[in-house]
């Protein structure tokens, strides 16, 4: 096995684009990533395209925007982990020597409001038992808050922090960082304890990464290649009620640490799945930044701020940058590459060398990605 590295990343700004389709968004992200890498489309040997909702052969439509070069095209769906799975497959193909140059892209185009849940039985859907992204996370938050004494004010502060990070991020859904704790608490209640501002806004957008071998990287670009030290994908196992979701996020992140030869204590940042505010605490525990029930404490101590020792969701994540299922993992990858290269502008953290991305996909998937320079 050889190293797979990222030599270019690009995004289409997250937001609402009623006049654009998913392929319009994906094309912009891919062109930006290829420009960043200095790689012409004709040199790309495979396209891995992730989306939750774009549908059959959408990857071919995206390929057509770039030019029908006849390369293998993979259409990947793993809900919010779709882009992460795309990166994992591209990294694996390069690491094993199957390919020298690949593009992973994630994109989404969606309606305002709740995200359609298409895989649930009819009896659950018609009774409102599975509503994305709030019902499962709200139940999880209720149990979590009671178990560990976490307050709604603490959840509100997560939203405030992530809006501030997003305001420093040019491609995020929200551009204003002046949200207050009171505004979060007084926003319309969606599902106890989650108000509207404790949930990320449904966004349209896209993100892409150019993945290649070190040798190819030297050929095309003088920028620091970012090494994919691990890219792990797992699916759900049967778990007792208290372990549902936690087990999968824990498993993929620890498999990633093992593969990369590091532990959570070595990380300089963590980009975590935060479609709702409580999940930022819970996920930080799942990946081992702290022990069970300590997510709110390390947050209150300021350790997860951009200025802290383990910044979390440096671009604001879902709560600030936006909830764009197919694109969200690769948006974190792009942000992480910029952080590792020192190109993150006003949100740049101090000299990061190693970072984790842990991202779920509707409870059925999770990816653990470790990037290093």
């Amino acid at each position: 096995m050889r190293d797979a590295v990222i030599i270019g990343v690009g995004m289409h700004k997250f937001g609402r684009y009623p006049d654009k389709g998913y392929a319009d968004l994906a094309e912009v992200a891919i062109r930006n990533a290829l420009n960043d890498a200095g790689v012409p489309w004709k040199d790309v040997q495979a396209l891995y395209a992730g989306s939750a909702l774009a549908g059959p052969t959408s990857a071919n439509n995206i390929c057509g925007r770039m030019g029908l070069s006849g390369i293998p095209v993979y259409n990947i769906e793993a809900y919010c982990a779709s882009g992460g799975v795309a990166l994992r497959l591209a990294a694996e193909a390069v690491a094993t020597g199957l390919l020298d140059m690949a593009v992973a892209v994630g994109c989404e185009k969606q309606e305002r409001g709740f995200i359609p849940v298409l895989n649930q039985p009819q009896w659950a859907t018609v009774q409102g038992l599975e509503v994305m992204p709030c019902t499962g996370p709200a139940l999880e938050a209720q149990v979590y808050m009671e178990t560990y004494g976490v307050t709604r004010e603490q959840l509100a502060k997560v939203s405030v922090k992530d809006r501030k990070n997003a305001a420093l991020t040019p491609y995020s859904h929200y551009s204003s960082g002046d949200l207050t704790v009171e505004e979060v608490l007084n926003a319309p209640m969606i599902c106890d304890p989650l108000t509207m501002y404790m949930m990320g806004p449904p966004s349209d957008g896209a993100a892409a990464a150019v993945v290649c071998s070190r040798r190819q990287a030297r050929k095309y670009s003088s920028k620091t290649p970012v090494v994919i030290a691990a890219a792990v994908h797992g699916s759900d196992k049967f778990s007792p009620l208290e372990d549902v979701y936690h087990e999968l996020r824990h498993r993929v992140s620890y498999q990633a640490y093992e593969k990369a030869g590091c532990g959570p204590e070595d990380l300089n940042f963590a980009q975590l799945h935060n479609p709702v505010a409580s999940m930022e605490f819970i996920c930080s525990e799942n990946v081992g930044l702290c022990g069970p029930g300590e997510g709110a404490r390390i947050f209150d101590e300021g350790r997860t701020l951009l200025s802290g020792d383990i910044p979390v969701c440096t671009d604001g994540g879902f709560l600030g940058r936006g909830n764009c299922p197919g694109a969200s993992t690769l948006a974190y990858v792009a942000e992480s590459v910029w952080q590792l290269r020192g190109e993150a502008g006003p949100r740049q953290i101090k000299d990061p060398k190693l970072g984790l991305i842990c991202h779920g996909g509707y409870g059925h998937h999770a990816v653990g990605i470790i990037l290093k320079k």
């Binding site: 859907t125 149990v143 599902c191």
Partner: protein, 148 residues
């Protein structure tokens, strides 16, 4: 009700999930699967044991009482996609004595606050709506056990 006063036929929202009684004296039950190899119990029914992957599973009637594992209230004015009931609504997970968890609506309780974890609840069957043939579609919910 039809004009002649006859009882309309009742049908389950999903026959693989909820078994309606054949006679009024019998009780409705949720249906699950029990693994012959490891004894694990699942709701809803499974083709394969999700713990030990055995395919030898028996269909079982599940306990009608359990405890609230989690509960919340859906309060937004925007109706979730596909949802056919009233707003707001109370829902959550019930842990049955067999160990299976059931995602369910709650009824006969205040919408002001979610139910406390550990509250003892019991199964009941309510009319959910009407199908194309004019039958009453019945669904399951749980409600707090009334102390007598």
């Amino acid at each position: 009700m039809p004009l002649n006063g006859a009882r309309r036929k009742q049908v389950s929202i999903d026959e693989n999930v909820l078994a309606l009684p054949d006679a009024p004296s019998e009780a409705p039950h949720l249906l699950g699967s029990k693994c012959r190899a490891c004894g694990a119990v699942f709701f809803p029914q499974q083709h394969t044991c999700q713990k030990c992957f055995s395919s030898a599973l028996d269909k079982v009637k599940l306990s009608r009482r359990g405890r609230v594992y989690s509960c919340t209230v859906f309060r937004h004015h925007r109706r979730p996609p596909g949802y056919k009931g009233p707003l707001p609504y109370l829902f959550g997970q019930v842990e049955l004595p067999e160990g299976a968890g059931v995602l369910t609506l709650f009824t006969d309780c205040s919408f002001d606050q979610p139910l406390k974890r550990g509250t003892e609840v019991e199964l009941l069957v309510e009319r959910f709506g009407e199908d194309e043939a004019g039958n009453d579609v019945m669904t399951f919910k749980f409600r707090p056990v009334q102390s007598k």
